[in-house]
């Protein structure tokens, strides 16, 4: 069955520190992978995506993610976080032949001043 696991429900980091959010997936075919961010009371904004090619992808707001097929992972990273990065981050896989996106449960990022 297709699934996405984000092992960390909450992560707290200090402003200026580096960040890594984990995402593991289970998918039968070559996955299309996405990271979205959701600020309180708002919709989902696409940070970055991976379809094929270079396994290190750059996104908006200084985020990057690395696709590791052998580990079925697509972890999100940022070298230095800002208070404005506080939000919930969702990893998603698809759409496959049935067009839907499969989502992780999200990781809430808390920034310490």
């Amino acid at each position: 069955a297709q699934s996405v696991t984000q092992p960390d429900i909450h992560i707290t980091v200090s402003e200026g520190a580096s960040l890594e959010l984990r995402c593991n997936y289970s998918y039968g075919a070559t996955p299309y992978l996405f990271w979205y961010v959701q600020s309180p009371g708002q919709g989902l904004q696409l940070l970055l995506k991976y379809f094929s090619g270079d396994t290190l992808v750059q996104g908006i707001k200084g985020f990057e993610a690395e696709f590791k097929r052998s580990q079925s992972s697509f972890n999100l990273r940022k070298p230095s976080v800002h208070w404005s990065d506080a939000a919930e981050y969702f990893c998603a896989v698809g759409p496959g032949s049935n067009y839907q996106l499969i989502w992780g449960a999200g990781t809430k990022l808390i920034i310490k001043p």
């Binding site: 919709g43 989502w103 992780g104």
Partner: protein, 112 residues
């Protein structure tokens, strides 16, 4: 260029009532997907519309129905509301190929 818009922003209904949520896709997009996001969870796929037809459906009961209009806008209808239907309902649109979905701000539905 306006992104995906949804209306209303918030809605309060009572059990057993019916509700209609509306979505206008991003300019140039012809495909609309609907998701339900319960508090503290990731979105769950409800269904997707393309060329005014339901193309794919997630694991939701028939109480959830939809429609897509010739201008690609879409409605989500929920009948016989249950307390468990309280959630943020997200609309996403995508263009040709449908690989990247762009989301609206959502409609927060509260069922009392």
């Amino acid at each position: 260029d306006a992104g995906v818009t949804q209306s209303p922003t918030h809605l309060i209904k009572t059990r057993g009532q019916q509700v209609t949520l509306r979505c206008s896709p991003k300019s140039g997009h012809d495909t609309v997907s609907w998701y339900q996001q319960a508090l503290g969870q990731g979105p769950q796929f409800i269904f997707q519309y393309y060329e005014e037809e339901e193309r794919q459906r997630g694991n939701f009961p028939d109480r959830f129905s939809g429609h897509q209009f010739p201008n690609y806008s879409s409605e989500l209808n929920v009948n016989a509301l249950l307390l468990g239907d309280s959630a943020l309902y997200l609309c996403a649109s995508s263009g040709e190929g449908g690989l990247v979905q762009f989301f609206g701000p959502g409609t927060r539905l509260t069922v009392l």
